[in-house]
Symmetry: C2
Amino acid sequence: MVKLYTYFRSSAAYRVRIALNLKNVDYDPVFVHLRRGEQSAPGYLGLNPQGLVPTLVDGDRVLVQSLAIIEYLDETRPDPPLLPHDPAGRARVRGLALAVACDIHPLNNLRVLACLRGPLGIERARRDDWYRHWVAAGFGALERMLADAPETGRFCQGDAPGLADICLVPQVYNARRLKVDLAPHPTIRRIDAACRDLPAFAAAAPENQPDAEA
Amino acid sequence: MVKLYTYFRSSAAYRVRIALNLKNVDYDPVFVHLRRGEQSAPGYLGLNPQGLVPTLVDGDRVLVQSLAIIEYLDETRPDPPLLPHDPAGRARVRGLALAVACDIHPLNNLRVLACLRGPLGIERARRDDWYRHWVAAGFGALERMLADAPETGRFCQGDAPGLADICLVPQVYNARRLKVDLAPHPTIRRIDAACRDLPAFAAAAPENQPDAEA
């Protein structure tokens, strides 16, 4: 049985939960409470030296980094595919996924906001501005990448959900929490809604996790 | 002929330069001067809506995001491979690459440091502390991931350079520029030195680019 170390509100764990659901992989969740610092316990650091979630354990394999985990799931459980078969399509989908995973999410996760608050002494309102600035900049570019491309369909690439959608939906969830204005991003809103209609995405949502808190 | 939009000091462009050299792909460099804001010119935004480097043009294909570009190069020019053939090995290499690309580099690139300086008004010394904090945290975890693993060889995975090394070397270059103490990271230093001994890495280094500045 696959084991997933997860936290309900972690975007990166949310991505892997969606991928596992799309692949119909049963898994045992292990809850790592980020706000209580459980990711820094020595036992967990032995599995994941970065002290981040998610970690996936598949038999004797321990896997880290959400995008590496999802590519691994796609290689070991190819049906349904999360990437197109042609190299140019794969590059487009990975490019969209990385535009979220490298250029939006890292600036907005819990440890970075904590560093802005603590060591840098930035107050709440300006931390929220920081958050919204990077989401707005990132979504502005993503909207153009999606709206202008013939490859975009019901989902980011054609009419089946894949790796780019898996990264997009948790970032939109975060944006909504921080009250980012999504009006300028109609294609993102449309694709997000189409994804959230699917049971695999709905079951992975933070509010539907056993460790969810108000 | 492949065309690469690049800036000598961009870590992400540096990664793609290394990959092109390892694959023996001839390319035409097009220089995008990030400090002069050329990445925000309308013509460039038409190619790369994020306004980031690198962009790779291969025939009629326009590719963005360094890791997506490198995976594309590996799929279209498989020799020499930049990823292992087994899914677990591929996941490990991608995990190491993403630990740099998602968890260190995004916090330290030019646009983020500019945002800390301008809108947030953080002075130079504390911006440098921020930089060093994320590199030290990231390298501490990477050092353990490399030093403790039997898969690590002369390079991050075995005895041939690949995607993880391609991400590591530009990050070490940045760390040196900002005078991050690398003494606690002997495995990283050893692998970085082994990489820089190879002509493909040396030719890709910032100081060896036609657009290099003092």
